[in-house]
Point group: C2
Chain length 219, copies 2
């Protein structure tokens, strides 16, 4: 029974890594779409988001079955509950990548990023893509240094988000309302992406160390 | 044992209703703050958001203990898992009300809502406040008519959200970038608030009817 349980817990962990790989692909392609105007890449992100929704349902079902059949307690139970939270956060990260891709599609063949904000959005693409890769590594290795790197990437995203908003509202910005809307929403999507990454990382840190002090970043 | 379990399930349901009441108060006060420029109301929403975070932690702990001690299966287990999802959504709805209140505080004594968009934001305040009240009634009564009313309010929020964006980007809008940013973000906060309300309502409909067809609104 225990061996079966361990195998099923390993499958659950593998499902989460699969979801995280999907999110990394989505944010990588969404970043490419937004920086190079690649409409195909944007379409792929939008089309493939449904797969991530299906994966989330699969993880949820596995969690419910695991609890019902194996009646886990203690750390096992907390791991399963955390898996439910992590799958919801990964699904939401995929949604945000799809939102970014939809913005590219809407504005095509123009870019949704005005030249004035290209550097900021480039920085956000880089930090978000990095954070997505780190989520995979954290799920695979549970290395706490990786968790710290995710927090750093989120700090970068927060700082760029603030810079984007300030530059729009300091009285000097002369772009169109459409430009303002695009920059505001893109910056917010990336900022929320980072929040979810940190939420996942705190869940994993909690499982590894029992330290729940970072739990203000709810996922 | 069963009586104790039933009492604990009733406590869990009561916790969720308590969270929903908190959310209703938050969005009511945030709406008042935004429509009347009431800074005190805004400060209260921001200050009280922490209580909602604590309530979420309390619900989560109760769910984990219930599962560990009572080893529920079937509908009981699904109810507990849904409670975890619902508490996360309610906590997020509180965050969104606090975001709205922070926007009021930032722009005080000016309103963050330009006259051009006052009617749209009024409509969003009304629909969001209504949806929050319906969540309480749905949790208390499990009346499916209430679930339908929540979907209608969300439709209203989606339509107003679209109207807000269109009016900003149709080439006729002459407000400042700050106005554009404020309207864009406020509309998005209300729209997400509605999404979470529908997500909660679908979870409850699923528990009552077993029908999971609305599960695309993940919470």
């Amino acid at each position: 029974m225990r061996t079966l349980f361990n195998a099923e817990m390993a499958d659950l962990a593998e499902d989460l890594v699969g979801m995280a790989r999907h999110v990394e692909t989505a944010i990588t392609k969404a970043s490419e779409a937004i920086l190079t105007g690649n409409l195909d890449a944007a379409q792929q992100v939008i089309a493939e988001d449904e797969q991530l929704d299906d994966l989330e349902t699969q993880v949820d079902e596995r969690c419910v079955l695991l609890i019902a059949q194996q009646q886990p307690v203690g750390l096992d139970l907390r791991t399963i509950i955390s898996a439910l939270r992590i799958s919801a956060a990964l699904e939401r990260m995929g949604d945000l990548a799809a939102h970014i891709a939809k913005d590219v599609r809407r504005s095509y063949p123009e870019s949704p990023v005005p030249d004035s904000h290209r550097e900021i959005i480039e920085g956000m693409c880089a930090a978000a893509t990095e954070a997505a890769g780190e989520i995979i590594r954290l799920l695979e290795t549970r290395d706490l240094n990786v968790a710290a790197a995710i927090v750093e990437d989120d700090d970068t995203l927060d700082a760029l988000h603030e810079r984007a908003y300030k530059s729009l509202t300091d009285g000097t910005y002369t772009g169109s309302p459409q430009n303002t809307l695009d920059v505001a929403l893109l910056a917010r999507y990336f900022e929320r992406f980072g929040d979810h990454a940190v939420g996942i990382s705190r869940r994993i840190v909690y499982l590894v160390t029992g330290d729940h002090s970072g739990s203000d970043a709810k996922i």
